[in-house]
């Protein structure tokens, strides 16, 4: 089992952090029961996804109220569906990423997010995403790219979002 200390160490060594931590994790994984992959949401990834959706979709989501929380909820589900459609290998990589981000020291050191995902402000999340987007480490940039594509794909795949971008949707065939 991975210790807190190992992750802190992983965070501090920077470059190899994600890889190393993933390796530690995958070693642990073999002993653990395999989690259900469909619909792609797990206890580990749901809080992270729910936290990044409002940051990635800032300006696109409804401002407030029930409509906002519903849109966020729908997008989180959409991300889950998208994950479930990826290759087994990609699913495993994402699972490792989300598991890592679910562990407090890794969240703090690799993402720079000190509060729990549920409590982090949109600004804190945006800062984390910017950091990864522009990181010197290719691994963090590719992790950002995966989150970017998952959330924006789930959002713009939803017909409810099309009016805002003047997309009429597919033509009627009849």
């Amino acid at each position: 089992m991975v210790t807190r200390r190992q992750f802190i160490k992983a965070g501090l060594i920077g470059g190899a952090a994600l890889t190393a931590a993933s390796l530690f994790y995958s070693r642990g994984l073999k002993e653990a029961p395999v989690a259900a992959v469909s619909p792609g949401l797990t206890l580990e990834n749901r809080p992270v996804i729910a936290a990044i959706v409002p940051a990635i979709l800032a300006g696109a989501l409804p401002e407030s109220g029930e409509a906002r929380s519903q849109a966020i909820q729908q997008t989180v589900e959409g991300v889950g569906i998208a994950i479930a459609g990826l290759s087994a290998a990609s699913q495993k990589e994402l699972e490792e990423l989300f598991t890592l981000l679910g562990i407090a020291p890794a969240r703090m050191l690799l993402a720079g997010v000190w509060p729990r995902w549920e409590d982090a402000s949109p600004a804190q999340i945006a800062e984390f995403l910017q950091g990864w987007r522009k990181s010197r480490l290719e691994l963090l940039r590719s992790a950002y790219a995966a989150l970017h594509d998952l959330v924006l794909g789930a959002w713009y795949g939803n017909p409810d979002t099309w009016a805002a971008i003047d997309y009429p949707g597919p033509p009627e065939m009849l």
Binding site: S87, Q91, L129, E138, A146, L152, W155, G157, Y167, P170
Partner: protein, 537 residues
Amino acid sequence: MSIRDIFLEGINAGWQSIDASKLEAHRDLEADVAIVGSGAGGGIAAEILTKAGLKVVLIEEGPLKTSSDFKMLEADAYPQLYQESAARKTKDKAINILQGRSVGGSTTVNWTSCFRTPPTTLAHWQREFGLADLTEAGLSPWFDAADRRLGIRYWDQSPNINNTMLRKAGWELGISVAPIRRNVKGCWNLGYCGTGCPTNAKQSMLVTTIPAALAAGAILVHHLRADKLVLEKGRAVALDCVAMTPAGIHPAAFRVKVRAKHFVLAGGAIGTPGLLLRSGAPDPNKLLGKRTFLHPTTVAAAVMPHAINGYAGAPQTIYSDQFLDNVPVGGPIGFKLEVPPMHPVLFGTTLQGFGETHTKLMQEFANTHALLALLRDGFHPDSPGGSVQLRDDGTPVLDYPITDFVWEGVKRSWLVMAEMQFAAGAKRVYIVHEQCNGYATMDEARAGIETLPLKNQLARVVSAHVMGGCGMAADEKRGVTDTWGRYRQLDNVTVCDGSLFPTSIGANPQLSIYGLAARNASRLAEELTKQPAPALA
């Protein structure tokens, strides 16, 4: 007006189509020829070999989806019809690859652009790989046959506005532009080729050669992954396959063993080398899976002062080869210019940034025109392409490092695309790069592009054309296959897809595959039947 689903009608009329995800026991199949993959190569081979009187089993890993499934919705189409939900990546995740995965392969979802293999490419193959018999004249009867069979001709309607922007830029700047030939019959000009043609107008393998093969007695098995060829004494004696679960991601419990006299591999330029590697195919010169090419593609988006509505109308009807033709074939990397269809998921996920800046750009979606530059890789020693490797679970992955030679072309392509978009009237040009915030003038673009780091993930590079990995050559030192697609180390294995190409094509590859597949499958039919092969068309 309802569209006839010719595929479902055929199944109702008795075509043999097996959904392996529904198997309840292991199964054995016997055939004269087993074909792995139902895309451009497999589809053409299936028709020719079946009509030659051979018993053919056609194996497809993806699902069977037909016109009644095609609802022009990205959210449905990408998971159903594309490899890895249209999110297939190179090993370092720097390049996103669009590749089909359902019956019909990439032909079910491609954008219908048809080009014959360029003469410069054939000349390079003759020079560098000794492919003396692949001449323009030698191939033209096969391209003619493919043209007739698949309705390939110049598009006779007006290009959509997105394509007219490329034409306008060409006219303004004196850059040559030309119309694209398309494989369509009775096209409705809807613009949704990429999510599966809902009207059966696109002459994909799904509505042409595969129905012809099934009507003539071929057996289609979908949801079936070709796992390994069983090799004995330099021959393949069987193909071990594993059924996939209905969603198509994970293997299911049951296996299918296909025994055949001959095996035709057409699983695409990642799948075919992957299958041969998993099978332990002899590869004395360490060439298998090497020299895999992508036409690495860059993207520039331009906000225009008027509507573009790039989701509507045939997606690709105009192109420019100016920047392929203005460089020597073995010199700095050249590129072909085309436009992509504009659909919300495809564009939204490709576009850089997130939050407010991304949202603001998406609000300009209807006014956004985009250009693509497809880089012609594989013609220079510094462009050796990538190599197909196997993951721990046996699935193939392409390791494709972007070399400095390619990056130089990436940067040159950004400058050209920006200049063309401003010439076409762009208010603002966005190179798809994480550090580009848009340029209002060409001077700004020139200065800005100079500062964009040429780095993975920062620069968005995509691909829709995977080629090579089982390259043809005149001798075994330069290629694992001969010009007939025969795998040199195995007596009864023929490769019949884009993995045969020893370089990239320098044009959308479907017609190059159709022509070569028709030529090689006809020869194979003659060898196996000792009769003249049936004409494709």
